[in-house]
Every structure is written in structure tokens, then in C-alpha cells.
């Protein structure tokens, strides 16, 4: 297996010759000293921004997109390896260091391969073209007579050869990326498309891997934050003497409502944070959770986004022979990272360096500079892998906390959030509410679809930093929940369709994007309602979808799903009356109506008495175009299915009028081993197509597939995630009365 990676000497050589990058302290001050004198280009149109080749032949890939645990570090390596014809083991990846990597945008939206990887592929193709031209000159051969193997260029005729290291080692390419540089024919891929084992797994299973939580600097202190007991409370007083007896206490820091402690040891910081006495004002600005959906419906609408409008849906509804309507909602969710967020910050000579697991180090750099009114050029953020984040979790906030504490004590500070900080203060996937109506004519054809979505306004951008707001420092004022109106429009060709997103002026808890933001919630509402409409039309739900799709890749996928899952056509639920019932449901998504296709069939087992739902099995068929690493894709799909089964059955952030009350894994339970379903996957590989995202799309189909399976099993509709036993019991009871 290809797990060999460059050794440290080679890596230093690579980074030392051309540029310098990785500044984990273990690589020593020589590297740091060079980075100060050799600024490396990070311009998005320069080959040197992405690639460097040392005289040893070692290739360094500089990626602005980062490994969040999804395997993209290995997949990006495969792309470069194939395009350059270099073994993957001879490629090192540097990720997310703002001083050395190009700003390729946040690592989000299932775009790392689709966008970032394609940029990197073009940079590699440009590099290869230049290397072959130079080799041709040196070997006296025409470009067409050259072959490359393992980073060595050979002339077919006389067999003379020269290595990439000899051609470029020690020099910059000094080339703009050529969008016309020829890409390798996919038929000739040797590494792309192969299930190459991930490079990061061996160190992760032996404890050798360095997560941000393990990262240390010489002289580093430990910090903890003390958050307000109520989200909007004001700090009235702090009794510093309450922590006088904590060994190694360095300082209590308060600025506005930002409160934190710094100590020599981590345990000292924890003890100080626990013991520190402070008084806060009362604040009860959150709505009553029991009336959340009334609150959402009553929230001021700042604007309407019409996400699709065909024909006249309202008029067609009025004239329809049969109408179906339903309201769906999806609870507030947490990212639920296993490792609470952590960061390290250091000020030196008026400059700030912050080590963070942020999915957006380039943007975080600008946020931190704005918070402290520093010049952007005086701030560097260096990516270090963290616990999986599944969107914008607390990593950036922990970074801001570390920065404020480090500034206050003049030494490097590591801030590690506690479990309650992560569950309580990570930004949340906002509550989602959708009203849906459909109309059918006398012969069961759908004539109208009309949906109204209620979600907070805002899109991607940057999520405000908790520390900046608490400390009264500059921060972003708007909400950034992600592009959560995606997939509110539908893929089906009904003659009259109107889908409107009412964008709300506020939402109870600071919002951000969680995996498949909006796409997951909206697809739940749409695809569960499609099942309702199919029943109203007297049609098999899978046949119904096929009938209304005008998209050959979509119909290919659904037909393949029907075979793969051995779907038995049906026109009504087979609801049995025993205590335990089984059922199956299907769902479909074309992600953002623009890319990756996923179809699902879920099998559930229901206990009518307890209301418990067991998801036994999920079958997934996915078409994401060209697949870089099929095992990596399968790993992501399995993960998406299991995480989303967890979200669908169990998860809901709870809160009172003052603060989040689901602060641990007991109050915010997630799926456990005995509860996980089996997952079977059929990948429709299309090697000559574009590589589309795989990180999120298969999340989108899971909640509706389960909802539809529940209906198949027991004849009731669950329209509110999570599908708790209490909700199912209530639905069964109201159906029987």
C-alpha cells in the first residue's frame, strides 16, 4: 500500500529550497527564518502558489482547501500524482497556511475536489507542460516523444532521461496557470479512481497524529473561557480573589463581557474557570422553545427569495381537482464535533500567528485582523487538523478567544473549549419551517406545487466571532447561515411551480452552516411531501419521481436505485397492525439542482408501542461524476448516512429563555453503535465527467427516506425532525382516533 511519505529531511529540503511552509515547531527555526526572507507567492493564477518541486524530486502541494477528516488530503495528492506522473508517496501536502497557500475559499459546500481539486489539477497540468518543454530542450527530443514515469522524463528514441528534480529543483516555475494546458486523458489515469489508502490514517491509529488539540509552542500557557450564563448577559463584576489559590494562575482577563483565565497548566486553567466568581445581569431574550415554530412564523420577513417560478402555481392550485398540503419542520442542530474546539495564538514583534483547525483560515485571518484593528499582513493563520467540524463549528471562535487571551498576557496561549462551550456556543443549524401545497387534476396528474420556506436571511460569508462580540470589538453584524435556500426548488417538471423562501430578520441562536446546510432540511421537506403527493396520485413513489424527471442522469440513477435496492412498486402503504412493523421509503436529490445525484432507499422497523424507530438499512446510489478515490467516497457516504440518521431520529438543541440547555452527550444524544444501520452503496462512476462534490450530498436524502419508510410501515406522516418516540406515539394515537 502507498503509505510511505517523504521523510523529514526530504521535506525540509523541499520546503527549504523553494519556499518555506509548514511551521510546526518541530521543524525548527531554520524553516521559520527562511520564510521571513523568502515570501512565497499565494496568487491563485500562479503555478508556484500551488506546487513546488525540490531537487530530490519531492513535490509539495500547497492547498488552500484543508483536510477536515474527509480524505481530501489523499484525494488531492492523487490528482497531482496522476497529472504529473509522480508517485503519491513523493508528494507532501501543506494546507491552509495563509502565508504559503493560495486562498481557494472555505473548505465547505463539497467543493474541495470539484473546485479546489480542479484548480490544482490545472496548475499541475501547466507545470507538466513546462517541465516537458524544458526536458525536450535538454534531451533534444520533441515533446511528443517524451514519456514521464515516477517524475522522470525519458525520450522514447534514445532512452535519455532527466528527472523533474533536475529540471526545476531549486527554481520557481514563474508561470501563470494555463487554462489551456492539456489535461491527462482520463483513460490514462493510473492513480485517480483508485482506492488508495489515506495517508493520515496510520498516524491516527497509533497516536502519532498532531491535532490542533495536541499542538504546543515553547512557553505556551493554557486558557479557558468563562461564557455568560445567559447568552446576552452583561458582566457586572468579577471576584478575582476567588481564584487566588489556583496554582499557576497567570491572569484573569475581562474585557466587556469577554471573560477568561490563563494559567501555566491546563488543569490550572480548568480549575480557575470553574472557581471564578462573576456576576452577570439577567437576560431572557430567547423564545420559548415549546413555541419555537409559532415564533419562526411570526418573525419579521426581511425579503422573499423566489427560488423557482413556473406557470402560475397559485391559480393552478385553486383550480385543482385535489389538493394536498402539509407543514414540515427541522429542529435546531449542533455540529456536535467530538473534540471541542481549540486554538493557539502568539504575538511576536507586533505580528499575530494563530494555529487553528478553521475550515477557512484565509477568511479567519481577515476576521482576526478586523477584530484587533490590525493590518491583514500582520496576521497569519496556520491550519492544523482538528476534530471533524461538519461546517462552521467553534474552531474560529476558539481562535478569537486564544488571540484575546494571548494579547492580554503577552505569551502564547492555547485555548481548549470544554464540552459545554462547544455544545452551548458553536453556531447552530437554524430552525427550518416549510409549508407545502400541491394540486392534482382529475386523473391524478400534478398540476401545481407551491412551497413557502421560513429561514433566516443571509448566505455564506463569515460567522461573527463570539469573543469579538462579547469584548465589544469589531465584528460582522449580519447572519451567515450558509446558502440555506438551496434545494428549496424541486427537480420535477410540474407545469406550475412556485417556491419562495421567506428570509427572516432573526433566529434564536447564532446560525451557521451544518453539513449540507439547507439542502438537508429542504430536501427533507420536499422529498417527504413528494411521497405524500405520490400517494395522492395513486402512484408508486419511485415511478412517480421518474415520471416527472426530465434529466437523463437523474432517471438513470433512479432506475439503478430501483434495481440496487430491489424496490417493489407500490401504490399505497402496506401498514400492518402488529406491534412491530417494517417499511421502506425512497428519496432523491440533485444537489443544488446542479450537481451530484443521490438516491436512497431506507428500511425501518417501528415499534408502535414504544414509538421507537430503528433504521435497519440504507441503500444509496450516487452519481458524482469522476471519482478520485472510490473508497474515500464510500467512507463519506457511510458517514453522511449515519450522521443524518442520527440527526433525523435523535438530535435537537434545547434551550430555555436564557441559554442552550443541551450541553453534553446526554442532553444532545447522537446515534450509538447498536443503532447504526447497514449501508450499501452503488457508485455510478463516470470517469470522463467532471468530479463533483461528495462531502455532503448523500446527507440530503436521509431524513425523507426515513419519513417515507415510516409512512410505509405504520401509515402516519412524521413531519418534524427529530422523529422522537414521543412524536411517533402521538402521530399513531391521533391517526387511530
Amino acid at each position: 500500500m502507498l503509505s510511505g511519505k517523504p521523510n523529514r529531511r526530504e521535506f525540509l529540503e523541499a520546503t527549504g529550497i523553494l519556499i518555506v511552509s509548514f511551521s510546526l515547531p518541530c521543524f525548527g527555526s531554520a524553516a521559520d527564518a527562511q520564510s521571513a526572507t523568502l515570501p512565497k507567492t499565494v496568487a491563485l493564477d500562479e503555478v508556484d502558489a500551488f506546487l513546488a518541486i525540490a531537487s530530490s524530486g519531492l513535490v509539495t502541494l500547497y492547498s488552500g482547501k484543508v483536510e477536515l477528516g474527509t480524505g481530501v488530503g489523499t484525494a488531492l495528492t492523487q490528482i497531482v500524482a496522476d497529472e504529473l506522473d509522480v508517485p503519491p508517496s513523493r508528494i507532501e501536502v501543506v494546507e491552509g497556511d495563509t502565508a504559503t497557500t493560495p486562498a481557494q475559499g472555505k473548505t465547505w459546500g463539497s467543493l474541495t475536489i470539484q473546485v479546489g481539486g480542479v484548480q490544482i489539477r490545472q496548475a499541475a497540468a501547466t507545470a507538466r507542460q513546462a517541465l516537458l518543454q524544458e526536458a525536450g530542450k535538454r534531451l533534444g527530443a520533441a515533446a511528443g516523444d517524451l514519456v514521464v514515469e515516477k517524475g522522470v522524463v525519458r525520450a522514447r528514441g534514445d532512452g535519455k532521461q532527466i528527472s523533474y528534480g533536475e529540471l526545476i529543483g531549486g527554481k520557481n516555475f514563474a508561470l501563470k496557470i494555463d487554462q489551456q494546458a492539456p489535461l491527462k486523458d482520463p483513460a490514462n489515469y493510473k492513480i485517480v479512481g483508485q482506492p488508495i489508502p489515506r495517508f493520515d490514517i496510520p498516524p491516527k491509529v497509533t497516536g502519532q497524529f498532531t491535532y490542533i488539540q495536541d499542538f504546543k509552542l515553547p512557553g505556551m500557557l493554557h486558557g479557558r473561557v468563562v461564557r455568560p450564563p445567559a447568552i446576552g448577559a452583561s458582566l457586572q463584576s468579577v471576584e478575582e480573589k476567588s481564584v487566588n489559590d489556583v496554582a499557576g494562575l497567570v491572569k484573569v482577563i475581562h474585557q466587556g463581557n469577554f471573560l477568561g483565565v490563563v494559567a501555566e497548566s491546563e488543569w490550572g486553567a480548568i480549575r480557575a474557570a470553574q472557581k471564578l466568581k462573576a456576576s452577570w445581569s439577567n437576560w431572557e431574550g430567547l423564545p420559548e422553545q415549546s413555541h419555537l415554530w409559532e415564533y419562526v412564523r411570526a418573525t419579521k420577513i426581511n425579503k422573499d427569495d423566489v427560488t423557482s417560478n413556473v406557470g402560475n402555481a397559485e391559480q393552478a392550485l385553486e383550480q385543482a381537482a385535489k389538493r394536498v398540503s402539509a407543514t414540515y419542520n427541522f429542529a435546531i442542530h449542533s455540529h456536535g464535533s467530538m473534540g471541542p474546539s481549540c486554538a493557539v495564538a502568539e504575538f511576536k514583534d507586533g505580528k499575530l500567528t494563530c494555529w487553528s483547525a478553521s475550515q477557512a483560515t484565509h477568511d479567519l485571518r481577515l476576521q482576526l485582523a478586523a477584530m484587533l484593528s490590525m493590518k491583514d499582513s500582520d496576521v497569519r493563520v496556520i491550519y492544523v487538523d482538528g476534530s471533524g467540524c461538519y461546517g462552521r463549528n467553534g474552531h474560529e471562535d476558539a481562535a478569537a478567544d486564544a488571540v484575546l487571551l494571548a494579547r492580554a498576557v503577552g505569551r502564547p496561549v492555547r485555548v481548549q473549549w470544554m464540552r459545554e462551550d462547544e455544545h452551548g456556543w458553536d453556531p447552530k443549524g437554524p430552525p427550518t419551517l416549510m409549508d407545502l401545497q400541491a394540486g392534482l387534476d382529475g386523473s391524478g396528474h400534478v398540476v401545481a406545487w407551491y412551497s413557502q420556506l421560513y429561514v433566516p436571511e443571509g448566505a455564506g460569508g463569515n460567522v461573527k466571532l463570539v469573543a469579538a462580540e462579547l469584548a465589544g470589538l469589531p465584528f460582522e453584524k449580519g447572519m451567515s447561515p450558509g446558502n440555506i435556500i438551496n434545494n428549496s426548488a424541486i427537480p420535477y417538471t410540474f407545469p406550475n411551480v412556485r417556491t419562495v423562501a421567506h428570509r427572516l430578520a432573526e433566529t434564536p441562536l447564532r446560525p451557521s452552516w451544518i453539513r449540507a446546510p439547507g439542502r438537508m432540511q429542504n430536501t427533507f421537506c420536499n422529498e417527504a411531501f413528494v411521497d405524500e403527493v405520490a400517494v395522492a396520485a395513486g402512484a408508486d413513489p419511485l415511478e412517480f419521481r421518474l415520471h416527472y424527471l426530465n434529466d437523463s442522469r437523474g432517471t438513470d440513477l433512479l432506475k439503478r436505485l430501483a434495481r440496487f435496492a430491489q424496490w417493489q412498486g407500490r401504490t399505497s402503504q402496506k401498514a400492518s397492525s402488529g406491534e412491530v412493523s417494517t417499511g421502506r421509503g425512497t428519496s432523491y436529490v440533485k444537489y443544488e439542482l446542479a450537481r451530484t445525484y443521490v438516491g436512497a432507499v431506507a428500511d425501518v422497523e417501528i415499534n408502535r408501542k414504544s414509538g421507537e424507530i430503528r433504521v435497519k438499512h440504507v441503500a444509496i446510489v450516487q452519481d458524482c461524476g469522476q471519482v478520485i478515490n472510490p473508497d474515500g467516497v464510500r467512507n463519506q457516504i457511510e458517514g453522511n448516512v449515519i450522521q443524518t440518521v442520527s440527526r433525523t431520529l435523535k438530535e435537537e438543541v434545547t434551550f430555555d429563555r436564557s441559554h442552550v440547555t443541551s450541553l453534553d452527550w446526554v442532553t444532545y444524544p447522537i446515534l450509538t453503535f447498536p443503532e447504526v444501520p447497514d449501508v450499501d452503496i452503488d457508485l455510478m462512476e463516470r470517469p470522463t465527467e467532471k468530479p463533483w462534490g461528495v462531502g455532503e450530498p448523500s446527507s440530503a436524502v436521509v431524513p425523507s427516506a426515513i419519513a417515507n419508510a415510516v409512512f410505509d410501515a405504520v401509515g402516519v406522516r412524521l413531519r418534524s425532525v427529530p422523529f422522537t418516540p414521543a412524536k411517533l406515539r402521538a402521530a399513531l394515537q391521533s391517526a387511530s382516533t
Binding site: T206, F209, E266, P340
Partner: protein
């Protein structure tokens, strides 16, 4: 002070990880006298002279134990933050149950949480390791 901080901060070990500090997630799992224990809620004072083994003590990159090899073969990790705890829990379990059923493996890991959804691969890895032993 809990054992976890002695292992991580005083001894510089990365195998045991801080996940919750509440004994709820299993990321901090180590062996104490061969039994899986949550080091985040085990007071250092309760450890005394008992033998503590962390992930690093199980096997090294140069000399992997069967479980670690099986996790690599099955590619049983995503972010990997929970994986050390999974391996330690599974190792203690396999020491007592040489040929477990899938249901027994799932039950043995019922109190170890994974957020990436790598459960199926973890179960396959534990089965593989059991078969290899």
C-alpha cells in the same frame, strides 16, 4: 486532577484525547490494569501504582498490533478523533472475547461515540482483528 491531563500534558501523549471530560464519549479511553477506563474522569490519585496503557503503548507505527492494522486495512477513520478510544475499548474487549459476534462488538462500543459516522468500518476492523488473532 484527572489522569487524562497527566498523560497529555505531563507525558506529552496524544493517544488519549479530550472529548467531553464527562466520561460520555470514550475519546480518552486508556487501559488501567488491562481494563478500558475513561481517563477524563479517573482521578490521578486513584491510579496509584496501577499499570496504565495508552494507544501509544499498544503498538507503534513500526510495530502495529492487529487491531491497528485492521483499522488501516478497513480505512476505519475519518477525522479520527475518536479512533484511539475505539481501539483501546476494542482491545480490552477482544482480550476477553476472542470471537465476538457483530452485535457483541456493537454493544461493546455502545458508549464510544463517533460523529463522522465511521461505525461500520470500525465494526469491520474489530471483526478483522478478531479473525486475525
Amino acid at each position: 486532577m484527572p489522569l487524562l491531563y497527566a498523560l497529555r500534558d505531563n507525558l506529552g501523549l496524544h493517544g488519549p484525547r479530550f472529548g467531553c471530560g464527562l466520561g460520555q464519549c470514550g475519546a480518552c479511553t486508556v487501559h488501567i490494569e488491562g481494563n478500558a477506563a475513561r481517563s477524563c474522569v479517573t482521578p490521578l490519585s486513584a491510579v496509584g501504582k496501577k499499570k496504565v496503557v495508552t494507544l501509544e503503548g499498544l503498538g507503534s507505527p513500526q510495530k502495529l498490533v492487529a487491531l491497528q492494522e485492521a483499522f488501516i486495512t478497513e480505512q476505519a477513520a475519518q477525522c479520527g478523533f475518536c479512533i484511539g478510544g475505539m481501539i483501546m475499548e476494542a482491545a480490552a474487549f477482544l482480550a476477553h472475547n476472542k470471537s465476538p459476534s457483530e452485535a457483541q462488538i456493537k454493544q461493546a462500543l455502545a458508549h464510544n461515540l463517533c460523529r463522522c459516522g465511521t461505525h461500520l468500518r470500525i465494526v469491520r476492523a474489530v471483526k478483522r482483528a478478531a479473525a486475525a488473532a
